[in-house]
Amino acid sequence: MSQGPAPATAPPEASKSGLKAWLTADVALSTTQAAAQRAYFSWLRFQANPLALAGLVVLVLLLLMAIFAPLIATHDPLLQNLEHRLQPSSARHWLGTDEVGRDVFSRIVYGSRVTLYIVLLVALIVAPIGLVVGTVAGYFGGLIDTALMRITDVFLAFPGLVLALAFVAALGPGLENAVIAIALTSWPGLARLARAETLVVRSSDYIAASRLQGASSFRIIWRHIMPMCLPSLIVRVTLNMAGVILTAAGLGFLGLGAQPPMPEWGTMLSTGRRFMLDHWWIAAYPGIAILLVSLAFNLFGDGLRDVLDPRSEG
């Protein structure tokens, strides 16, 4: 890679700051530089998409909100104050108060923690399962492939929410069980994707070469196939998160997800529902929060796909 001759005329960027010159040099002199350059150009492509950038900004804000929730929230999210119940927006309660006088704004701020918790946990459970099932099925083929794909077919034969509801019914309501239920319903799509990617790279020369050198199947899958599946998998997981948030909120709304008084956005909608016809803000703001974050994941995922996985546009 780094053997090519240096360009005869230095590009104009070279005269700018050192870092930028290093990042945009025509010839990378080390693997670190090559990797940094690739990341830099990916970033340039990503930031050319304003909608994807907006998605990223929302997600970063969500993260900051979750980390600094105690500093941002104006009230204790669980503190009831029956004297101030069902109040509209005011200087004291920015987004009003709910049916037991809790501050809606503070509850939404703390709710970001619950949302991030759900999203991260689902991603951590689902991505490895999908990756392992998909790569193993794709690499070994034959009976193993058939068996694993039939199992994914069974899971895919149910629409997501209905299957999640059945799992929650069996496991009992609660945040952790909702996470498990959602994870159980969302791994098959990822397994399918990882399998498709594996089928593409399985017959590559470099796989044959490492097999000839005596590498074990485990090593080939772990070192040579899984890394190839990662970009498209990351994109899909990101896009899935939008749906995960909606399902989690839906479960909360039905009273089967996070339980009151936890400030989960779907649960807030569920408890505020009885009062919303006269006090719309109780239901309006948590819903807007769900919409914003779900939309942000969709926009960010779309942008990520253009950068990481340009083949699958559509």
């Binding site: 909608l51 039939r150 199992i151 077919d153 069974v154 899971f155 034969a157 149910f158 629409p159 997501g160 929410l161 209905v162 299957l163 509801l165 059945a166 799992f167 929650v168 019914a169 069996a170 496991l171 009992g172 939008a242 749906g243 909606l246 909120a249 839906g250 709304f253 039905l254 009273g255 089967l256 779907g266 909608l269 529902r273 919303m276 016809l277 006269d278 719309w280 239901a283 309006a284 948590p286 819903g287 769900i290 919409l291 779900s294 939309l295 994941f297 969709n298 926009l299 779309d302 559509g314």
Partner: protein
């Protein structure tokens, strides 16, 4: 392959195609059968992993040891798991899905009663999704990269990102409580219940058939908002797929030829559109399955007495007979729709022959 070779094996090829087709059909049948058994196994296992003791659910925690053991044996819980599964299969194939706690009726009977309401809602939503989604998708493809395309894309992304149950709640706040344009909970106002004879399962159609326009208007005011909100997701899906199918066609050479020949933009679009019909049909069939999923929350929000509300009511009372039967039924419908979509594609698209 040489020309004479193809002519020579013409007959044989025809026979070969038939064999290949029956093989494909056979393979599909086996896949569907295995998946169906898988569905049953999954619902069976969900029923088993339930931490709630099924015996205690029946006799309560006050019963003595002997009663417990008796019911335990009656339910067949002393048998090995595979035997229990076989008994479960036997029950399912003889139509015994158990009784619902809330109504005291067999679950199948309950579902047969509530399902027409869901069908009415989902069908209207599908019509809405197609009426809005297809033209939007075509516009986005024809004006690719323009502001129309971006607008349709944002619209579609919103459709995927918006929590429909929240949209329903807001619609009730604005159009029911605020403006009074739409009806509230249920399929029809209280005073109109039972006024028209049920014929089709759709209250709206029944009222129109009976010529009772007052009831028809009432039914319409009740169904329009849940149907529109349910249509939202399928519209996003249908418009996105229409756009990508249309783009594929518009990049074909016959479109270029048609343009060079001087055909108007509308004629060219019509040419291309006729060629996406089959793909579009398969997508619409799949969208219908998605609507049944979406109906669960939409029905709960609008108090629509359909299958979704029945399922959530069962969930809240912890009635596993109801939950598992509904889950199984939706799984079977979903599987059938997938198969139908697959078959439509094979039968209607000449390229797959």
């Amino acid at each position: 392959m040489s020309a004479e070779g193809t002519v020579g094996v013409g007959r044989q090829r025809h026979g070969g195609a038939w064999v290949a087709r029956s093989k494909a059909a056979g393979r599909l049948a086996v896949t569907v059968f295995v998946t169906l058994i898988g569905l049953l196994l999954l619902t069976f296992l969900i029923g088993r992993v339930m931490p709630v003791d099924p015996v205690l659910a029946i006799i309560g925690d006050q019963a003595d040891e002997e009663t417990y053991r008796k019911v335990f044996t009656q339910l067949g819980l002393d048998r090995p798991l595979y035997m229990q599964f076989l008994y479960y299969l036997h029950d399912i194939f003889t139509g015994n899905f158990g009784t619902a706690i809330a109504t005291g009726h067999p679950v199948v009977q309950d579902i047969a009663r509530v399902f027409p309401a869901t069908m009415e809602l989902a069908t209207l939503a599908l019509i809405g999704g197609v009426l809005f989604g297809v033209p939007l998708g075509i516009l986005a493809a024809v004006y690719r990269g323009s502001w129309i395309d971006h607008l349709v894309r944002i619209f579609g992304l919103l459709g995927y990102s918006i929590p429909n149950f929240w949209l329903g709640l807001m619609a009730l706040v604005v159009f029911y409580a605020g403006l009074g344009w739409i009806g509230g909970s249920g399929r029809i106002s209280f005073h109109n219940i039972g006024v028209v004879e049920p014929v089709t399962g759709s209250v709206l159609l029944d009222a129109m058939i009976a010529g009772n326009w007052e009831v028809a208007e009432d039914a319409f005011r009740h169904v329009v908002m849940p149907a529109l909100i349910l249509a939202n997701t399928s519209m996003a899906y249908i418009s996105r797929m229409t756009r990508s199918f249309m783009l594929e066609q518009l990049n074909q050479e016959y479109v270029t030829t048609a343009r060079i020949k001087g055909l108007s933009g509308a004629r060219v679009t019509w040419h291309a559109f006729r060629n996406i019909g089959v793909q579009l049909l398969t997508v619409i069939v799949l969208a219908y399955g998605g609507l049944l999923d979406g109906a669960v929350l939409t029905e709960t929000v609008f108090g629509w007495p359909g299958f979704g509300q029945y399922l959530t009511a069962g969930l809240l009372t912890g009635d596993m007979n109801v939950v598992l039967t509904c889950t199984l039924m939706i799984g079977v419908i979903f599987l059938s729709l997938n198969m139908l979509s697959d078959m439509l594609y094979r039968v209607l698209d000449p390229r797959t022959k």
